[in-house]
């Protein structure tokens, strides 16, 4: 299967060169499986012809502000999986996104598989300097990845800015992720655009009432190099891979609606047989 996709990619490359498209058309280099960021789930990786391209900009967005937990957890898990490339992770937070997105916690990062000491958090004063910071970081070659977190669809972050960021990421071969909290779909230069929504978690094998591995619905809304699609995936933290988790998990309530009695005597047992009482009158 992998062999076939490689051939397909080679063919596409040949076709695009025949058509005389310029180099910025994000044609994947066929012999560069190493520069792909993978999910570890064949279904997804094959769909993406081996994974996400490394030296490119990818956008991850969520519809609602409260989905930012899901979107950033997915991104962190994805980066933890692809963190073989040593180097620091620069996480730039637009001040507008900081107000209700809270603060990343090192314990949470650890449990998703990222070393907190590899993360450099940048909190610029305003969006303009945030964009400058993103551009400057994208120029640097030695980083593991860059995450630029913005809120909504700011006007300043237009097509030409995203094009500039994309070109710089391409030149330095650094993966660049635009994390958009509560934003609409917007045209940008990103190679792929993903939407992340939380799904009910998988069954926890050890503890039935408990919360299992996190599940998300990934919607590939835009893909410059192939088709779009959507998949429910769950994160297997022990193996550091994503798994396709299509099985419908019904959100049954594991909590009893009424509290059981605690630390007090049980109900009195019924004593003997209840006889019909005589009529009172």
């Amino acid at each position: 299967m992998r062999r076939q996709t490689a051939n397909l990619a080679t063919l596409k490359h040949v076709v695009s060169s025949l058509e005389g498209r310029n180099e910025h058309q994000f044609v994947p280099d066929p012999a560069s499986d190493a520069t792909r960021l993978t999910f570890g789930e064949e279904l997804l990786d094959d769909h993406l012809e081996g994974g996400l391209l490394s030296g490119c900009m990818h956008e991850i967005r969520c519809d609602y502000a409260r989905d930012i937990g899901a979107a950033s957890a997915f991104l962190c898990a994805f980066l933890a999986r692809n963190h073989a490339r040593s180097g620091k992770l620069v996480w730039i937070v637009d001040p507008a996104a900081r107000i209700d997105a809270g603060q990343m916690s090192p314990d949470g990062l650890w449990q998703l598989g990222l070393d907190p000491s590899d993360v450099i958090l940048v909190h610029p004063r305003d969006l303009k300097t945030a964009i400058w910071t993103a551009g400057e970081s994208a120029r640097e070659g030695g980083l593991a990845a860059i995450v630029f977190q913005v809120k909504g669809n700011p006007k300043m972050l237009d097509l030409s800015v995203s094009r500039k960021l994309m070109l710089r990421a391409q030149a330095s071969q650094t993966p660049f992720f635009l994390l958009r909290q509560g934003g609409q779909e917007e045209a940008s230069s990103a190679t792929t655009r993903w939407q992340v929504t939380p799904l009910s978690s998988d069954q926890n094998q050890d503890f039935k009432q408990g919360i299992g591995p996190m599940r998300h619905r990934l919607t590939l809304e835009r893909n410059r190099t192939g088709q779009t699609g959507n998949w429910p995936v769950s994160w297997q933290s022990a193996q550091r891979t994503f798994r396709h988790a299509a099985t419908k998990i019904s959100p049954t309530r594991y909590l009893s609606a009424v509290s059981t009695s605690r630390d007090r005597p049980d109900l009195p047992l019924s004593m003997g047989q209840i006889m019909a009482f005589e009529r009172a009158s």
């Binding site: 409260r66 990343m104 958090l121 910071t133 980083l143 009910s200 909590l255």
Partner: protein
């Protein structure tokens, strides 16, 4: 003070011993009959047109400080002397200005040009210079020639208190010279050690230590221009040359730059200071200059060259031993990326401010919001990693990725006494809990919060739509509170 035309004559007054008295006035023909120490009402009677302004000591002090900063163009060692004077230690600096006389002339010309009234004197000791400046006729005392010069000056020239001067005057000591040849012991017994130590300081028998306003830098390199420079390109070029000039000196001492300061002296007397820091000791001129470029670019909007700058001075405030990277040849690539990253951190910190580029620092506590702090990436120690979690903790997610620094209060329906919440309203959205894990009990830190602080019972919950959140109940039922509040503290993925 100079006379200002077309405005009423200016006098400054202050409340001295419950009376408004004049403390300063402009030098003008229009103010004849008015003198310092006169009461304000007398002055008004003589000249009803005067404009009176109350003495502002803090403004005086601020002005003196700014003059002191400006004086750093002559020597790095400038210190304050009382409320109205400055000491400049010009040892080894005078020849740069073609000698002491030319230097004093230059200082006088520039300060008078700025509208200030100055008196200058130069001598072997600060005490002698102080006396000469205020009471003497000669401006420059030749080397070791200050003793006869201060001999005829009044005793006030010794920086003594009013009472001591009066007492000495009563005894017939009118000039400094009177004290030269009298027995010292009775003088010390009568007036304390101050009189003698001031005398010795003025004569140079004991050293007087001047404490400079600003710490002395490791290295200073500066460039002076006959014509002030205005163009940004020129400034950048000069900064690069200054950095290049400092590098060989750093090399000789085996040091690398950690923090340095660029002082730009404007032609009109103002001073701009830019301080930058580096995460690792630097010895590369272009990298050092790049840090200033970022700061200049950040300042660009609200900063104008104006009349231009006539001196640019680069002082290296802090330097640390520079380790030549011996590993470089073997693992060249890794060393290269680490260096590039530290350079990126330096540049971002220079442009955005060092508190905006941060890394996590671990704190040893169980309270979730106190478990970590954000620390400037520049100050962070190298290679300090977080305590790793054990494998069990890694496979089960128990801590949220996103933590709210201020837990958010929610309205919740929960099992009593210690059950998880069943329903709650957070940010105006209702959450219907279907799964919950908990409670994980985290007790307060009584040594910080006091004994009455509540315990927290944390629950990981998942709602019907799949949102995974971290909630806690603040307080134990009945034992601590009757109506505990619920808070959302974090978001899982």
């Amino acid at each position: 003070m100079k006379e200002l035309p077309e405005t009423p004559p200016l006098v400054i007054f202050d409340t001295i011993q419950n009376a408004l008295r004049i403390t300063a006035h402009e030098k003008s023909e229009r103010l004849s009959g008015i003198y310092v120490g006169q009461s304000l009402s007398d002055a008004r009677a003589i000249n009803p047109h005067i404009e009176c302004i109350e003495h502002d000591y803090s403004a005086d002090n601020a002005l003196l400080h700014s003059i002191a900063r400006w004086c750093e163009r002559y020597t790095p060692l400038v210190s304050m002397s009382g409320e109205d004077g400055l000491f400049l230690d010009i040892t080894g600096c005078a020849h740069l200005f073609k000698g002491e006389a030319a230097m004093l002339e230059d200082i006088e010309k520039r300060l008078v040009g700025q509208g200030l009234d100055v008196k200058l004197a130069c001598a072997d000791t600060p005490g002698a210079a102080w006396a000469l400046c205020r009471y003497g006729q000669t401006r420059i005392a030749k080397p070791s020639g200050h003793v006869p010069l201060i001999e005829p000056l009044p005793l006030q020239g010794l920086r003594l208190g009013k009472d001591e001067v009066q007492a000495l005057n009563k005894l017939g000591f009118k000039t400094i010279g009177c004290l030269y040849n009298i027995p010292r012991a009775p003088l010390a017994a009568r007036f304390g050690s101050l009189v003698l130590s001031r005398l010795d300081q003025a004569l140079g028998d004991i050293d007087e230590v001047l404490s400079p306003l600003r710490p002395v830098s490791e290295l200073v390199s500066e460039k002076r221009f006959a014509d002030p420079i205005v163009d940004e390109e020129d400034i950048k070029r000069t900064i690069f040359l200054l950095c290049e000039n400092a590098v060989p000196n750093l090399e000789r001492r085996g040091l690398g730059m950690q923090a340095c300061e660029l002082i730009l002296f404007r032609a009109n007397g103002e001073i701009e200071t830019i301080v930058t820091e580096a995460s690792t000791p630097l010895r590369n001129a272009s990298r050092m200059a790049a840090l200033f470029d970022e700061r200049l670019a950040a300042l660009h909007d609200d900063w104008e060259a104006g009349f231009g700058f006539d001196i640019l001075r680069l002082s290296i405030l802090r330097a640390a031993p520079f380790h030549e990277d011996q590993q470089k040849l073997i693992v060249k690539e890794q060393a290269g990326t680490a260096e590039e990253t530290s350079h990126l951190i330096d540049r971002l910190s220079a442009r955005l401010g060092k508190d905006r580029v941060q890394v996590f620092a671990h704190c040893d506590t169980h309270i979730p919001e106190r478990r970590f702090a954000l620390q400037s990436a520049l100050d962070a120690e190298e290679a300090k990693s977080f305590p790793t979690l054990n494998t069990h903790q890694q496979s089960v997610i128990t801590r949220p990725l996103i933590l709210f620094s201020n837990p958010e209060r929610v309205d919740a329906i929960a099992e009593v006494p210690e059950g998880p919440p069943l329903k709650f309203l957070w940010r105006k959205v209702s959450y219907d809990v279907v799964r919950a894990e908990g409670p994980e009990r985290i007790a307060c830190e009584w040594w910080k919060d006091g004994r009455t602080a509540y315990t927290r019972d944390y629950f990981r919950i998942e709602d019907r739509e799949g949102y995974r959140l971290w909630l806690f109940r603040h307080g134990l039922y009945e034992r601590e509170t009757q109506a505990p509040n619920w808070y959302v503290h974090g978001m899982f993925g």
